[in-house]
Symmetry: C2
Subunit: 423 residues, 2 copies
């Protein structure tokens, strides 16, 4: 039996009962002969409460001190978890990100891991301990300051430790049973995915699936660490994310992995842009200089009579104000007529590696949307994903229609291998 890294999110350790339940599960893994490293998030709403306190004392943007503040949350949960494990008669030691050797750059609040030197973790394991590590945090290489990894950081900590310790698997415990073919809150018949490739998971993550974040999956793919996403509330198998289905699991890769949706984005249309070389570059350089990540980009066909065109792109709603301000400042330099801002949009994405070799997929996707009466405003495709932008109000209906059309509903016989409809 090898080494496993288990990661438990805030909802799994929300209170003393949750911590005791998680401790039992960890001890079970140890009893099964594994060396166990546990990465834990802050309890329940602790992080939000700390952010709230910070806002009360200072409106100044987050930085070094903000990271120092937030890391208190994991310190509490990891110490309590170690105590609960000891209470079950097993040895456990907790480690801060710094003690665990999680070395990051110095970008406070969203630091990137640049190295993991888990010497103390190895020693603790060799001495028979279960090692508990604070998720979400590290120490900066140059200044030795405490840093945090930003949203989803605990998952990244777990995968990075799994890679550094050459773990057999990184188990991500959460409050859902795994990755689903669509958001089960929207699609009642959504089905748990038994196995999904890193590539498809990356596309789902960047299309709005919240279960795993893009960054964590990317890290796992780079170091080829299998991820097992599962519930901390049940003993069920969850979703395996890896390069290949595991040898003992007979899973045929579906053509379509799932349908993701996202209503956190807004659309900006730059109206009346001269249709000449360099215009798009000027617009997106302006956006990039404001450190805003954009998602989809579409340029309309130029109207021959005016020589002007429109360029639309989507971006997180939270960055909308900043983008508008940045573009307005450059209005004369770029030479557009006006800006339109629309935050009542939604994005629906169909993801699956089978798309590449099944030319009918795109057509079926659009037909399903058309049959559901959903109007398409933007389209963007990759080799294994098609995304469309619609009205926000249409998103749930669109997701359900597409899910059904591709035979993903849990009572459908066409679930695993697509192609039966002949479309």
């Amino acid at each position: 039996m090898g080494l496993v890294v288990q990661k438990y999110g805030g909802s799994s350790v929300a209170d003393a009962e949750g911590i005791k339940r998680v401790a039992k599960r960890i001890v079970d893994a140890k009893k099964n002969g594994h060396q166990v490293v546990v990465v834990v998030s802050a309890m329940g709403d602790t992080t939000d409460e700390l952010i709230d306190l910070a806002e009360q004392v200072s409106p100044i943007p987050a930085g070094r001190e903000f990271d120092m503040l937030l890391t208190a949350g994991e310190r509490i949960s990891m110490a309590l978890l170690a105590m609960a494990i000891k209470n079950l008669g097993h040895e456990a030691q907790s480690f801060t990100g710094s003690q665990a050797g999680v070395i990051t750059d110095s970008v406070h609040n969203k630091a990137r891991i640049i190295d993991v030197t888990p010497g103390r973790i190895r020693t603790a394991l060799d001495e028979g301990n279960i090692a508990i590590v604070a998720g979400f945090q590290g120490v900066s290489q140059d200044k030795k300051d405490i840093t945090t990894l930003g949203r989803g950081g605990s998952d990244t900590t777990a995968v990075a430790l799994a890679a550094a310790l050459d773990a057999e698997v990184c188990e991500i415990y959460t409050d859902v049973d795994g990755v689903f073919t669509a958001d089960p809150r929207v699609v009642k018949k959504a089905r748990k995915i038994d196995w999904i490739s890193f590539e498809d998971m990356l596309e789902l993550a960047s299309s709005g699936s919240k279960v795993l974040l893009h960054r964590c999956v990317e890290y796992a793919r780079r170091y080829n660490i299998p991820i097992h996403v599962r519930s901390s509330f049940s003993g069920l198998q969850g979703t395996w994310v890896s390069n290949e289905p595991r040898g003992d699991r007979k899973v045929e890769q579906a053509i379509i992995s799932g349908v993701a949706h996202d209503t956190s984005e807004a659309k900006i249309t730059v109206v009346g842009v001269p249709d000449k070389p360099g215009e798009a570059a000027a617009i997106f350089r302006t956006i990039a200089n404001a450190e805003i990540n954009i998602d989809m980009v579409v340029q309309n066909v130029s109207a021959a009579s005016t020589g002007l065109t429109d360029i639309s792109f989507t971006l997180p709603k939270t960055e909308g104000r900043k983008a508008i301000d940045a573009l307005e400042k450059q209005k004369d330099a770029i030479g557009f007529e006006s800006l339109r801002y629309d935050d009542q949009i939604g994005k629906i994405s169909l993801v699956g590696a089978g798309m590449k070799t099944n030319p009918g997929v795109t057509a079926s996707f659009f037909e399903a949307l058309s049959d559901a009466g959903v109007n398409i405003e933007l389209i963007s495709t990759s080799e294994i994903r098609i995304s469309v932008v619609t009205r926000a109000d249409d998103v749930n209906e669109a997701v359900r229609a597409v899910h059904t059309a591709f035979g993903l509903d849990s009572d459908s016989a066409e679930a695993v291998v697509y192609g039966g409809t002949g479309r």
Copy 2:
């Protein structure tokens, strides 16, 4: 202007408003030209809440993980305080005990400081920062584990840093105006002491005064660091604790510094002890082996007829059970008849360096108690202190009577120089 260390307790930083108020005060000291190092405790009841959580997950006694847990409290308050200071336009950086170079032994939950290497604090100060340091915590020299210093640990952190940084003064900010001649909750006319010697403060602290703990005063005396105890809620001068009254302060040393009381102790009487050499040693070796600190010890006069005597001692109530168990186990070896346990006692102590050269003090003390109808059960004296044990119910009345008798009441003209009563 030199370097000052300021320490703020949990009640001073109980909420966002408190933190902002403290931040202003710190900035004022900086504006006055001082280099400022701040030691801060956990906010309000944070530590108690963490202890409560720990008890919910595990009844196992505190240790390494417990320390890891508790130190989260200071991490929160220090980061918030640094943010509040930045918000006032000044630079501040927060440091954990480990980052500040507070090196301790490995005795978790009550570690002792063995060295302070404040290199990062010096650098932060030299760069113009206000340095905020987590109180109550350090890092163990051998294992590099997080430790806590036990009750009153933040005061000790402050004094130790003041010594290591050669500070001008260590200011201890609290929710009272300073050290009083008696507990103001018991004695309405208790008066704030302007200056008190280290020695008298040590005796007051070990006699039940809660404002400063013995350990912290001892540390300050060893390194000759003046302490200024004062309120964080007002701008008033508080109480100076130092070797000599400061040059610019005309304070005549009072013969009596104050009256302290303590109702946290219990009394154990070992009945029927053979009156021969080695008996007392056997009893107190037994107690010492159980790692229990005792306070007063009194051996009664032996009854000639039986050759047996009684030995009484006081100890913290919390250690009562342990002491009884340890003695019972050794009953035959020591050869006593029985044990009596009494936790309804109180201790009243009169403290003052003037006692040494004023022989009337002891007599006046006993007369005051007698006039108030208070029965004395045990007596213990040092060169600058007299303590008596009474019934717990009599303590408040006894304190008031003694306070008045020695002219300590705030409306008395005899306050500073004792001797007027002729007793």
